[in-house]
């Protein structure tokens, strides 16, 4: 049995339930979905004693407000600059016990875009093909496949008895990688050969601006158009992080809910380890690309995984 945990008063922009990805159905045409910033999401879950991939709220809100229906414990990470419980500011980087009728306000004026809100035991979501992650494009998972809205009531496990509250060690705060100017590593893509050396040099030496067209499907960059020699290619596999170059010249980086195939030249793929940094960039922010080898990207990702696993196993 699940208990109602919270009622959303202000859902802000593009808020969804997210969890472990719906991996392994790409050959059915089904996107992966799941956390866009895995680091912040896993830190939020850790704060309340959850498993790494428990279902939580992911939100692009600058302001998020909810009231508590049943006692629970909350962990917030990612793009949040202030937490108020019944009007009182509280620490950003530790878990908090909440009691019935508490009113919680989350503000964001950081350089990050996405906040994560976890509750002990996780929220309840519709499981579709093994995952509760919401894919709003295709109406799968989460709360009836929809983005969260004001007045939504979210349920959770009745075994959400507060455990010890945790504090995130100073060096691991997710805010540390938020910036107006980010650099992400890119592994050359299968169609890099469709670009002249000059165009590729340009791609790696200029900053792009993140446009206002951002969603969980893709981020469109602008400010420095890139052109391929040919666009006449069949649709091929694309993964989250794939940088596609459409004829308009403005690159599109596919995100967690991106399609599984695409027909634009694939210039490169953002290294997994840097995907949280990119996901957290706000519209108007700038991104530079740095070429890297798959081996280096893998090594850096392994290090990232390792410190999260160590945190969880302490």
């Amino acid at each position: 049995m699940d208990l109602p945990l919270i009622r959303i008063i202000n859902s802000g922009n593009l808020s969804t339930l997210q969890a472990a990805s719906r991996f392994g159905f790409s050959d059915f045409g089904i996107p992966e979905s799941g956390f866009q910033d895995k680091i912040s999401a896993q830190l939020a879950n850790w704060l309340v004693g959850n498993k790494r991939f428990n279902t939580l709220i992911e939100s692009y809100a600058n302001y998020f407000e909810f009231e508590v229906i049943n006692d629970c414990s909350m962990g917030v990470q990612g793009a949040c600059s202030e937490i108020r419980i019944n009007g009182q500011s509280v620490s950003l980087d530790q878990g908090h016990h909440l009691t019935v009728n508490d009113r919680i306000q989350l503000f964001n004026n950081t350089h990050g875009a996405i906040l994560y809100l976890a509750m002990t035991g996780g929220f309840t979501g519709t499981e579709v093909l093994g995952s509760t992650a919401t894919d709003i494009t295709n109406g799968l998972g989460g709360l009836n496949g929809l983005p969260l809205a004001s007045q939504d009531i979210l349920k959770g496990s009745k075994f959400n008895t507060p455990r010890q509250t945790r504090s995130i060690p100073e060096g691991l705060l997710s805010r540390r990688y938020f910036s107006k100017n980010v650099t992400v590593h890119v592994i050359a893509g299968p169609e890099a050969y469709l670009f002249t050396k000059e165009v590729i040099d340009n791609f790696y030496s200029h900053a792009f601006v993140l446009s206002a067209e951002i969603s969980r499907v893709g981020y469109r960059l602008t400010g420095h158009p890139i052109y391929a020699d040919s666009y006449n290619i069949p649709s091929k596999t694309v993964l989250p992080g794939t940088i596609q170059i459409p004829p308009s010249g403005d690159p599109i980086i596919l995100m967690a809910d991106g399609p599984v195939t695409g027909g634009y030249p694939r210039m490169g793929v953002v290294a997994k380890v840097d995907q949280p940094i990119l996901a957290q960039l706000r519209s108007g922010g700038r991104v530079r690309f740095l070429a890297c080898l798959p081996e280096d990207a893998r090594l850096r990702e392994a290090n990232q995984r390792q410190w999260i696993e160590e945190l969880y196993h302490k």
């Binding site: 050959d27 592994i187 299968p190 596999t237 793929v269 997994k272 798959p294 990702e301």
Partner: protein, 222 residues
């Protein structure tokens, strides 16, 4: 690594290109590789003569092992059990054939000629992509092979049957999209809550069967 062509797609995936254009050979190779769990491959994706393999967690420690296996694969004819022919009802009524005029103009044919070309062809499910359950069907007659719309349509109704670039496809749900719409099918092609999520299978042969607007409106999926 012999004559096998491959490239990275990010740090955890490789793409083997220029494998056979036969979907049955592609599926045979995929199933053969599935027989070697130690290769650590967790996802197999087929697109146009290309097999994309996603590796397990820490990446491809063994690209060369995988390539060796690919090189060793020998397709045995008739290894796959032939799936039954799937018949897909389609209504070409002008209420559904949203690009009728464009198609007539580009193909320089009248609509009944276009319909009969489309109906007479036998198709094969070559891949799923673009959106859940969207089948890419090989076998479109060359005289119907036309480029995508210059600018995509904002809303394509669920069930729309569309053509572009030597392919035919069916939109399982409402979506924006860039193919020319030739008609509409009342069949449900994607239901994540059913045991059989996708009624069509990779490699399956497909034929369209014309139905009237009246039959379309009265259609009940079984």
């Amino acid at each position: 690594m012999g004559g096998i062509q491959w490239r990275y797609l990010g740090e955890d995936a490789i793409e083997i290109s220029n494998i056979s254009s036969s979907i049955h050979v592609q599926l045979g190779l995929r199933d053969y590789l599935k027989g070697f769990p130690k290769l650590g491959i967790v996802s197999f994706m087929l697109t146009d003569k290309t097999l994309t393999l996603v590796s397990e967690k820490y990446g491809f420690m063994s690209v060369s092992h995988i390539i060796d296996r690919v090189a060793a694969y020998q397709h045995k004819v008739d290894e796959n059990v032939m799936l039954p022919l799937s018949i897909i009802p389609i209504c070409y009524d002008e209420a559904f054939a949203l690009d009728q005029l464009k198609l007539e103009g580009i193909c320089k044919l009248d609509y009944e000629e276009i319909i009969s070309l489309h109906l007479n062809a036998e198709y094969t499910v070559a891949m799923f992509g673009f959106m859940p359950g969207f089948p890419y069907l090989n076998g479109l007659p060359l005289s119907l092979s036309i480029p995508r719309l210059k600018s995509p349509r904002k809303i394509i109704p669920k069930g729309s049957v569309a053509i572009a670039n030597e392919m035919c496809g069916i939109y399982p749900n409402q979506t924006p999209g860039g193919w020319h719409i030739i008609g509409r099918s009342p069949l449900s092609l994607f239901d994540p809550l059913k045991d059989d999520v996708l009624p069509l299978k990779l490699g399956q042969r497909v034929k369209f069967q014309r139905i009237s607007k009246k039959d379309f409106d009265g259609f009940t999926p079984n």
